[in-house]
Symmetry: C2
Subunit: 245 residues, 2 copies
């Protein structure tokens, strides 16, 4: 049974997030959506609007992960440098994209000023992913999917193309415990020795009236997950197990 | 006038964030608090509970940034590997810390089981930062401040020591515009040529009844910020400026 998933990195570009002015809604959205699609998000990076920093992050992530998603920095002003950063990271020049230029003329309804023209300057080799319901396509360079920072636009674009990312899903079980996680640490080690491919998390919850810990058990192999769950339930002290979900 | 600030990186450690099960509250809290203290957060990384990955992130960030804050992975179970990751990243062995051992005996009220004993295994050279109101001190290794992942505990610990991070504050002005940012992009470039040290952001806002863009102007030098703001107001088309805050 293949456990191997596609993995992904999410790169959030924007000084406004780092300075605490705006709370990032895009990485929680993307990580939840990608997980539901069966994709394993391995990194989220929030970085400033700086060409060099974006270039370095892109260069590192495009080789290390199957999929890379960027958000932010694609508008017309001085602080929108994502395209230049990606171009640097992939070692390509920026070129004016004629189809994107045409699309922008339709959107803006006429001639483009220099700031609007800049929106069609993209790394050489960039592709346009057209999809139903999108006036402006999603921009892709190889395994890098480039999204705007405005959450409602990102959601609309991601929704339009997300089926292409679907993998075998993760299956999840949760066990709720009424005692401290230090009391079950050795039981968790035991089940991991028997089921080394189990994805097992232990999360203390403060001040909940019913439980103190949530254990999460995950696998892409449902039968393996069920065997591991039953095995763990045998190891855990019965009086600590509140319920299984 | 010194523009130079202390900068910082925030490293959030936890599979539960990457898989979208839990929304990270710690990086928004820390980035807002650090900004208010005058610290310039330059990176937020969310990474999995993996010793190697944590080690690499720590090794890169401790040299590149003045301050590094970690959150998560400091509990007693198999997935709590932050201490091993930091030890790897700073090139020190893990050692059992006798004072931390004593503190844990007080907290747990007696003997420690193997999982609890592990909580006192820390990188050699780690310091304890005691502060008023803290039962368990903040753990520090050189410029790395190690926080628990549970938001209420992180807040309590950060509050107790935050004054040590205070710098010259950032001053902020906002200009609200009623037109598209492409219309003012050249005005923003102009003010940046005159005030190259100005921190200037331009953020489109969709579907707001009153404005379409918020410009943010920042500096640690209040007089410089005021001059830059007045200069920008002269460049901007008057009919687009809704208000200044």
């Amino acid at each position: 049974m293949a456990q191997q998933s596609k993995n992904a990195a999410i790169i959030i570009i924007g000084n406004e997030i780092l300075s605490g002015k705006v709370q990032d809604a895009n990485s929680p959205y993307l990580s939840g959506e990608l997980r539901a699609l069966g994709v394993d998000v391995q990194r989220i990076s929030v970085i400033p609007d700086e060409i060099d920093t974006i270039g370095e992050e892109i260069a590192a992530c495009r080789k290390k992960y199957h999929l890379v998603f960027t958000s932010g920095g694609v508008g017309p002003t001085h602080d929108d440098v994502t395209m230049e950063g990606i171009a640097r990271g992939v070692g390509k020049p920026l070129t004016h994209h004629p189809i994107l230029d045409q699309l922008l003329r339709t959107v803006y309804g006429g001639d483009l000023n220099p700031a609007q023209l800049k929106l069609a300057d993209v790394p050489e080799g960039l592709e346009l992913l057209h999809a139903e319901g999108l006036r402006v396509p999603v921009l892709r360079f190889e395994n890098i999917y480039i999204f705007p920072g405005i959450p409602s636009l990102l959601v609309r674009k991601f929704e339009a193309i997300k089926e292409r990312f679907r993998e075998t899903p993760f299956h999840l079980r949760k066990i709720f415990l009424t005692g401290d996680e230090a009391l079950v640490a050795e039981d968790l080690n035991k089940v991991l020795r028997l089921f080394p491919r189990l994805l097992l998390g232990s999360y203390p919850i403060l001040h909940h009236p019913e439980y103190k810990v949530i254990l999460t058990l995950e696998s892409k192999d449902k039968a393996y997950l069920e065997r591991a769950t039953q095995s763990l339930l045998l190891f855990l002290p019965k009086e600590l197990v509140l319920r299984l979900e």
